[in-house]
């Protein structure tokens, strides 16, 4: 089915999008934290992917590729949002559990775009190191060392915050 999608077949492409729509939506929600924005992101990613789908060289990486362009899009959106909107998270009522998530998400937001992608693909999409390496176009060993370095950055973030684990 993936092979057909690369040849630009309408129905096959639709089927691929159906197959991956949950993963794509979850990705958008993880980054954008808003359903409306996630739906808009899905439309945009369908558009971009459908336009470009002939250029994918390796069908088995189609999912990772889709997730990757989704993350890129979300990261761009977040940068725009930073410039133009006020943070309204203070208006939400949150539980202690939520606070832990918010902290982690804030920590993740301090990482570079690539570090965020690596963490997201590895821990949220549970993608294989091999697939991540292909999608990022870097060697597998580099994926591993960058992930390792990123975990160290996260740890030092929490340590500097004074151990929010104990809240």
């Amino acid at each position: 089915m993936h092979v057909k999608a690369i040849a630009g077949d309408d129905e096959a492409f639709l089927a691929v999008m159906q197959l991956h729509k949950q993963s794509l939506l979850r990705t958008a929600l993880a980054f954008l934290r808003n359903e409306d924005d996630a739906i808009e992101a899905l439309q945009e990613i369908t558009y971009r992917a459908y336009k470009k789908v002939r250029t994918v060289k390796e069908p088995s990486y189609l999912k990772t590729w889709l997730i990757r362009i989704m993350i890129n899009y979300c990261q761009d959106q977040l940068k725009l949002r930073k410039r133009y909107t006020v943070d309204d998270s203070g208006l939400e009522t949150v539980s202690a559990e939520d606070i832990s998530y918010i902290e982690l998400r804030d920590a993740l937001a301090t990482l570079s775009d690539q570090e965020q992608r690596l963490i997201y693909l590895k821990y949220f999409q549970e993608s294989k190191i091999k697939d991540i390496a292909q999608s990022e176009n870097i060697p597998e060993s580099t994926v591993k060392s960058r992930l390792y370095k990123t975990m160290r950055t996260l740890r030092s973030y929490f340590e500097d915050k004074g151990g929010s684990d104990h809240v």
């Binding site: 939506l25 899905l42 439309q43 992917a49 459908y50 336009k51 821990y123 160290r152 740890r155 929490f158």
Partner: protein, 438 residues
């Protein structure tokens, strides 16, 4: 090592996975995303025009072309064995005759280049015979050639007969540094001169900057002579008569010379399914991309078919089963380009005027069963004072609903209404004509 961090990430993942997803909105978003691409593609298709130019008043142009391309493995192999020819496959694959020219090594590599500023034009190769010349050329640049337009093309040679030519290609979106095209120059009469040296000028416009390339080249191999068969047979299709005079078989094309009986009550327009058939039932049809006929004076026409020059059949027949025709009084369109008003046209009114002014007119014909009417349908344009109005550039394109024809008039001081001769129209006479050629 980082178990705590990993555990926190895992927790967050599970939390996120529990979120309900707006799935029906998602389906709609996917559909909308795909629809946006389809709309854009449709728009892009509209812009794809092939430009036709005519240098001679005597030549009438009937053009037809299709867009789907099928390549046989044998042909693909022959193409692959000639360096540089591969990129032109899409421009030759629709014609069995050209296919055989390539397979029989009659395509001749030239490889002459000229560089002006950052642009280089290369004449890659040619096919020359007594009926015309096909020139395959490429323009390359380090900078983007997006938006490149071919302004005009001239071909000079000592003793070259006047003729008609077609050129223009769609640039590949992903290859913005290369423009490739085939110029199909068709001589108005057989060219039998010993001179095989040509001078090609190609003027292009890119971002308002004009570049004129001028490349001389010589074709080394001697031209293969045409084979001429005199037939002289009168035939009848639903009461309308015409005479098949002679058939000329050349490497690039086969010309069928026909004289139409002046006493016919209907004007015969196109021999849509005219074809050659050999003893094994193999067929050669009309030219799919280029000039399909010459003539018109005194009811004499030459129609062109794909060439079987290299196949050397034992027996050969000319076959016709349907002919486009209109009653004589309906066989022209009369229209006022300033008011958009029709004064005459075929009774079933299949052609509509979409928009017009003194400079330009755009006609459309609705597709039947999603089939595009593939013919360029308009011939000479005569104004109210009986003077010809030239149409230096014309274009044809199709979208999903209709076929469009664009006409640009050479001058605006003409008097309305304009009388446009119809060369093709979807109205048919049927019969079964089979004539022995050899």
């Amino acid at each position: 090592m980082y178990e705590t961090e990993e555990a926190r990430l895992k927790q967050l993942k599970e939390h996120l996975d529990q979120q309900s997803l707006p799935l029906s909105e998602a389906d709609q978003a996917i559909r909308q995303g795909m629809e946006r691409v389809r709309r854009e593609k449709k728009q892009a298709r509209k812009r794809r025009k092939r430009i036709f130019g005519s240098v001679a008043v005597v030549a009438l142009l009937l053009l037809t072309f299709i867009t789907s391309i099928r390549v046989s493995p044998v042909f693909a192999q022959a193409v692959a064995s000639i360096p540089g020819l591969e990129k032109f496959v899409e421009l030759i694959a629709m014609d069995k005759g050209l296919d055989a020219v390539i397979q029989n090594g009659y395509y001749q590599e030239i490889g002459v280049t000229q560089t002006i500023d950052d642009k280089t034009l290369t004449v890659d190769g040619v096919i020359l015979d007594e009926t015309g010349i096909n020139i395959f050329y490429t323009i390359e640049s380090k900078r983007s050639l997006k938006g490149l337009q071919v302004d005009y093309i001239h071909l000079k040679a000592e003793g070259i007969p006047e003729g008609s030519f077609s050129y223009g290609n769609i640039m590949d979106e992903e290859e913005i540094h290369t423009y490739k095209d085939r110029i199909d120059y068709q001589f108005g009469e057989l060219y039998t001169s010993q001179n095989q040296s040509f001078d090609l000028s190609v003027a292009i416009k890119l971002k308002d900057q004009e570049t004129v390339f001028s490349v001389p080249f010589t074709v080394l191999e001697q031209v293969k002579a045409s084979e001429v068969y005199t037939i002289d047979k009168k035939v009848d299709i639903q009461g309308q008569q015409f005479t098949i005079e002679k058939v000329t078989v050349s490497p690039l094309r086969v010309g069928v010379k026909i004289t139409i009986d002046p006493t016919n009550t209907m004007k015969i327009l196109q021999f849509e399914d005219m074809r050659l058939e050999d003893e094994k039932g193999e067929l050669w049809g009309s030219i799919r991309n280029g000039t399909t006929a010459f003539g018109g004076e005194d009811g004499k026409y030459t129609f062109f078919l794909q060439s079987n020059y290299f196949s050397q059949p034992k027996k050969l027949y000319l076959r016709i089963n349907k002919v486009q025709a209109l009653n004589v009084e309906e066989a022209f369109a009369e229209v006022n380009t300033e008011t958009g008003e029709w004064l005459n046209q075929p009774n079933d009114q299949k052609i509509q005027l979409l928009q017009s002014n003194k400079h330009h007119a755009e006609f459309i014909m609705k597709n039947t069963d999603e089939e595009e009417f593939p013919f360029y349908f308009l011939g000479s344009v005569i104004d109210a004072k009986g003077e010809e109005v030239e149409t230096p550039t014309t274009g044809k394109y199709g979208d999903e609903e209709a076929t469009h024809w664009d006409l640009n008039f050479g001058r605006t001081d003409y008097a309305n209404p304009l009388r446009l001769e119809l060369f093709a129209y979807p109205n048919y006479l049927e019969g079964n004509i089979k004539i022995k050629i050899k």
